[in-house]
């Protein structure tokens, strides 16, 4: 039995999801016989961890602070073993710009993109370069904040005139944004779970939007609006390749214990592209990692036990 502090909530935009993930993790840990300290992460985090001296911190945070290496850095300083990826991997994976550069350099396929900071527009007149983007990436483009984990702030630009407002929206969430070629096709999520220190892929989940406005990201992950199919119905060769790409991306960014890699299978070309790697994917009732684990015969409690065992 260990004393486990479950870190959840926080002040990110994904606070609500994190609270749900955390509550579910706490239930599982109690069933597994652990002593659980529920920590809604805030000003008193360090004080609380110093006082309570947990054996392990289970990081069930999503988005800013929790998934970007901030909390992990604190845990390193305090010498508390924690679950999931370490600081450097969190920094790389949560920043889509860093992650995509790394993938492009390493030959892991990811949609073509350009990334800009707010400073580039303010200090270097980057706006004047926008017309040139039109000739380098075809429309529609997806404009997104570099570090936002939920659907907020992601906009389509159908033409050059849409770009400024789309950038403005994305800059509401981060001072770095990317303009990415839109890949039309099937959405695949591949969860990765380490087994004996070796990352393994779980069955692929496909998200199938139901009669939705194609361009409305915000409503896509509502129950009843998107159907999740697991395992996804794919040609074996495609599944294998997708799994290999997901593992490549996971390893490339240095992720540990578990994670989820989101890919697109392009309709026209049948090519696969990595959109992002989530170092701490959701663990709620409707999240994709638990669903994929279940399809592989791994119960939620077993999943939590495996993640906990990987903490150092």
């Amino acid at each position: 039995m260990s004393r486990v502090a479950v870190l959840k909530g926080g002040r990110s935009l994904e606070r609500q999801v994190s609270l749900k993930s955390g509550a579910r993790v706490e239930d599982a840990l109690r069933r597994l016989g652990h002593d659980v300290d529920e920590v809604d992460v805030g000003q008193d985090l360090v004080t609380r961890l110093t006082q309570n001296q947990p054996d392990i911190a289970f990081v069930a945070l999503h988005g800013r602070d929790g998934e970007d290496g901030t909390v992990q850095e604190l845990l390193e300083v305090l010498g508390i073993p924690y679950t999931g990826s370490r600081v450097a991997a969190c920094v790389r994976a949560s920043d889509k710009v860093l992650a995509k550069h790394a993938m492009r350099d390493a030959g892991v396929p990811t949609p073509d993109f350009f990334a800009f900071s707010e400073a580039a527009f303010k200090g270097l007149g980057a706006a004047k370069a926008m017309p040139a983007i039109s000739s380098r990436l075809s429309f529609p483009l997806v404009v997104k904040p570099a570090s936002q984990g939920s659907a907020l702030g992601i906009k389509f630009a159908r033409s050059a005139t849409d770009i400024p407002a789309a950038l403005l929206a994305a800059f509401s969430y981060d001072d770095k944004v990317l303009l990415e070629r839109y890949v039309a096709g099937r959405e695949l999520a591949i969860s990765v779970l380490e087994d004996g220190g070796e990352p393994q892929t779980l069955p692929i989940v496909e998200a199938v939007p139901q009669q939705e406005d194609f361009y409305d990201f915000e409503s896509r992950y509502e129950i009843g609006r998107t159907r999740f199919v697991c395992p996804a119905q794919l040609e074996p060769a495609v599944s294998e390749r997708a799994a290999q790409i997901a593992l490549d991306a996971f390893r490339l960014l240095g992720c540990r214990a578990f994670g989820r890699v989101d890919l697109m299978l392009e309709a026209d070309s049948s090519e696969l592209y990595v959109l992002e790697v989530n170092p701490i994917p959701g663990l709620t009732e409707t999240s994709l990692l638990p669903q994929a684990a279940d399809a592989a015969g791994i119960s939620f409690d077993q999943l939590i036990e495996k993640i906990l065992a990987s903490a150092t």
Binding site: E14, A127, L152, Y173, I223, R227, P290
Partner: protein
Amino acid sequence: MSTPGGRQPRSAAHEIERYAALFADRTSVMKSSAMRDLMALTARDDVISFSGGLPDTSTFAPGFFTEIMGRVASQYCAKALQYGPTEGLDSVRERITEVMAAEGMTADPDWVLPTTGGQQAIDLVCKILLNPGDIVIAEAPTYPGAVPTFCSYEAQVIQITMDRDGMRIDELEETLARLDREGRRPKFIYTIPNFHNPGGVTMSLERRRELVRIAGERELLILEDNPYGMLRYEGDPLPTLYSLDPDFVIYASTFSKILSPGVRLGWLVAPPPVLSKLILGKGSTDLCSSSISQFFIAEYFASVNWQDYVRSLIEIYRRRRDVMLDALADQLPGEATWTHPQGGLFLWATLPDYIDTTDLLARAIQERVAFVPGRAAYVDGRGGSSMRLNFSGVNEDEIREGVRRLGEVVREQVALYSTLGGQPAAGKGGGAQSRANQSGAGLAEPAPAKTVASDRDALAQVLPLTRKRAG
């Protein structure tokens, strides 16, 4: 090895499949979780929130509250703890007619149905009138809390533009004529004539007359939602639709804004055949509204002149409204417009169309200020650059500070937009004018002195009114 509920966890995949198949179609039209997550952050302690619809209950004397509840306990103990009639207590129904009389209405207590808050009034009307796919006509924007109710009954909501005189009757008539041609007919017209939530405008007398005329001629029901009518800060009261012609009006109001939302008591007044259905509907929903609350209301009204308390609220809210109007004039850039409410709790501000107020809210929360993004008041994705601001639930200093923070965020967005290569409209007047001309709409425009409305965002365009300090 058991969950708190004593159950073993079910397998995740089966869980999702099981529940997904069980959810009613109507749940798929509810608000996105991203928006919910964002709104949840506005509750943080350090955030000055203009997003609630909260009346100020802090001036109600605790001693008086104790006294009333003490009397409820000593005089009505067993009854207060018991179920009551679905139709509500007679004493409460009489008090309701008294409140209505203060607004110039005559109602028979037998036509009154107390409800569990004004929200239940809307829900019950939908429940007894709407089949899936039925049409409801509402204002654009409409009360954000009504949208999920309409959606949960699978209504098709058609929103009619408002200008400074409320719902545009010409557009309503055009819409009704179009529906006629399609062989369709709305079930009811939902309107908030006084101090609209979220629009902040009041329907003119002329339009009130036209609206009840249309309802009478076409035998359509109107749901008149009047939670704020007593909270007038300037100008003369206008007759309610119900007082103009009760035959086709279902009237809804509430104790929430004149006393307390915590008692969860509102009411409906409807023609007897409609009322009997409403009573059946209420019975199946909650059997009866809280007996404790009803006894509280009855005792409260028996103890004091209730209008004195309302007058004290009016004083507080009028000052807060003025502080907000002044602060907006000082802090928002010239491209922004907003309504000047003569009463109620809300005003509606519209920013340049390149600003999406949902994304702006994420920035604003970082600067510790919040509002309701305009999109929440539409079913069709409009309202993206507007926001609802509440001035009743925040004290004057906080209003000044909150608007200062908001102004900073908005000005920063305006400046950033041109840095990003955006082409801001030359001037709001010019923009509004040209769009209005393009629309070519023969607007039922109230007076030539007022600005012309465009077809789409009439509120945005018609109301660049408040560029000066409130009087």
